[in-house]
């Protein structure tokens, strides 16, 4: 059912999402994202980016259509399989979502603990990803002792520690100043270069224009542009 050699990491067919209040957040979206791609989902506030991300995590159910993520049939699978879908991907949010009473090390290790990884593997993997995000020497710090950029780097470390094939980020630089944002983008680029697919929702025009990656533009729940290596293209 979920094969690691699957070429398409995400496959959306005629996906629509209508919220209970009648708001149409996504309208008949067809999209394919392949292994190793780096894709920006762009669009103004309220365009449907977060809805797109939540569908991939099965945080919400599509109203209609067909959705495959890492080989999981998101719409048809039973609830008890949700944890396994989520283990196959890493997720990063604008507000970091770290545990304030746990240290940097514990926050990252947490993602391995809850899936019952062996302790020796946890030690090795956490140290290694803290190296990747450049926070090895701050492993004992609590989130409150870190800057916003550092906290987001901890969140990235947590997202990649289980070696997911897909990273999904919803406005990861939304709370950061431009310089710190670039540190984050630099880490993403390195992770992507190592073969991990990255899907990032953003409305940061400068980042999108500079990176020249694939761009999917959403407007009122519809894909209005899909460019292989493009810019933001719209005034925010």
């Amino acid at each position: 059912m979920k094969s690691p050699t699957e070429i398409n990491v995400i496959k959306m067919k005629s996906i629509s999402k209508v919220y209970d209040n009648g708001a149409v957040a996504l309208d008949n979206v067809d999209i394919t994202i392949r292994r190793g791609e780096f894709v920006f989902i762009v669009g103004s506030s309220g365009a449907g980016k977060s809805t797109f991300v939540k569908l991939l995590l099965r945080e919400i159910m599509p109203t209609s259509g067909h959705l495959l993520v890492n080989g999981y049939n998101v719409k048809k699978m039973p609830n008890r399989e949700i944890p396994y879908l989520r283990r196959s991907l890493g997720v990063i949010f604008q507000d970091y979502r770290l545990l304030p009473n746990k240290t940097v090390y514990e926050n990252v290790a947490f993602a391995m603990r809850v899936i019952e990884s062996p302790r020796r593997l946890i030690l090795r993997s956490v140290n290694s990803v803290l190296d990747v995000v450049g926070l090895r020497d701050k492993y004992k710090c609590f989130p409150s002792q870190l800057s916003g950029g550092e906290q987001q780097r901890v969140a990235i470390a947590r997202a990649i520690v289980n070696n997911p094939a897909l990273i999904i980020a919803d406005e990861p630089t939304g709370n950061l100043d431009p310089e710190t944002s670039w540190e984050i983008m630099d880490i993403f680029q390195r992770i992507n270069a190592a073969g991990t697919t990255i899907v990032m929702a953003t409305h940061d025009k400068m980042i999108v224009d500079t990176m020249q990656k694939r761009v999917l533009a959403i407007e009122d729940g519809r894909i209005v542009r899909d460019e292989a290596s493009g810019g933001y293209g719209y005034e925010v």
């Binding site: 809850v114 019952e116 062996p118 947590r158």
Partner: protein, 295 residues
């Protein structure tokens, strides 16, 4: 379950109990009070129930015989009574026995018997007890028609009121116990909901990184069980002390009061109360975490 996971759960529970120490104490206190009240009612109901059935089983029918029947007729009657459906014991009380008993009962006032002038007006009788107290009425009616029987009497009012009373006590007791159990589960689930609420972000993050519902549930379940267990233990100790004190007091006051003996009664109560604490704690935490698992 893997060992490191168990270890993780135990650590989580210990941390949580330490972190929420006043809340944990409040929970334990709630469990203790509720289970104590619940236990008191249980002990009262069981005691009253037993008292009632003791009294019930003591109800007997006195079958007074006509004065002019022969030994053979008396013996035939005994056989007839013995073969009756639902009869437990049949005792013959001769008029001499009856007089002896009567004079014993009179005690200091034995002199009253002198008025009888050595005659014995008491009849010969059979005293029968029935297996099921419900049979008293029909049995006495039937026996009255036997040849040689003058009358058959029993404490009619007592028996019939006793049935109503025990039925009522059982019903009220059951209702109170069910109500208290429900109230306790509600209070505990609310208390644990505070713990769960305080950790809702953690639960959401656990879900995002792919923890299964049961993995998330276990520490809370364990926490509820620990709280329920501790509260149940304290309640059980208090109940034991209370019952021992009560037994002593009643013993000092009036020895014949038929309270259920301490053992094994208190052992059963202890087991029931601690188990109830555990079940209530578990139920309470399952109820309170349900809502937060929907991420």
């Amino acid at each position: 379950m893997k060992f490191r996971t168990t270890e993780y759960f135990i650590k989580e529970v210990a941390t949580s109990l330490k972190r929420n120490n006043w809340m944990s104490l409040a929970s334990i206190g709630t469990v203790t009070i509720s289970l104590f009240i619940l236990g008191l009612f249980l002990m009262v109901v069981v005691n009253l129930d037993r008292m009632a059935s003791t009294l019930e089983s003591q109800v007997q029918i006195s079958v007074y015989l006509k004065d002019d029947i022969t030994k053979e007729q008396t013996e035939a009657l005994r056989q007839k009574l013995n073969s009756l459906q639902g009869i437990d014991t049949v005792n013959y009380i001769s008029k001499e026995d009856a007089m002896k008993r009567f004079s014993e009962r009179l005690g200091d006032q034995k002199y009253l018997l002198s008025a009888l002038d050595e005659t014995n007006p008491l009849p010969n009788a059979f005293e029968i007890t029935v297996k099921d107290p419900q049979l008293v009425k029909t049995a006495s009616k039937e026996v009255e028609n036997f040849p040689g029987v003058d009358t058959a009497v029993y404490a009619q009012d007592i028996v019939e009121h006793l049935f109503d009373l025990t039925r009522l006590i059982r019903l009220i007791g059951l209702a109170i116990i069910i109500f208290l159990a429900g109230a306790t589960i509600f209070i505990i689930s609310n208390t644990i909901r505070l713990t769960v609420f305080a950790r809702r972000k953690e639960i959401a993050i656990m879900k995002y990184v792919g923890a299964t519902d049961w993995f998330i549930r276990w520490p809370f379940l364990l926490e509820g069980v620990v709280l329920g267990f501790l509260g149940g233990n304290i309640a059980a100790i208090l109940l034991r002390l209370a019952y021992m004190a009560l037994t002593q007091k009643i013993y000092d006051m009036m020895t014949f009061f038929p309270l259920i003996p301490l053992y094994p009664f208190l052992t059963y109560i202890t087991i029931i109360i601690i188990l109830s604490g555990i079940v209530i704690g578990a139920l309470g935490s399952v109820i309170s975490i349900k809502r937060f698992l929907e991420v």
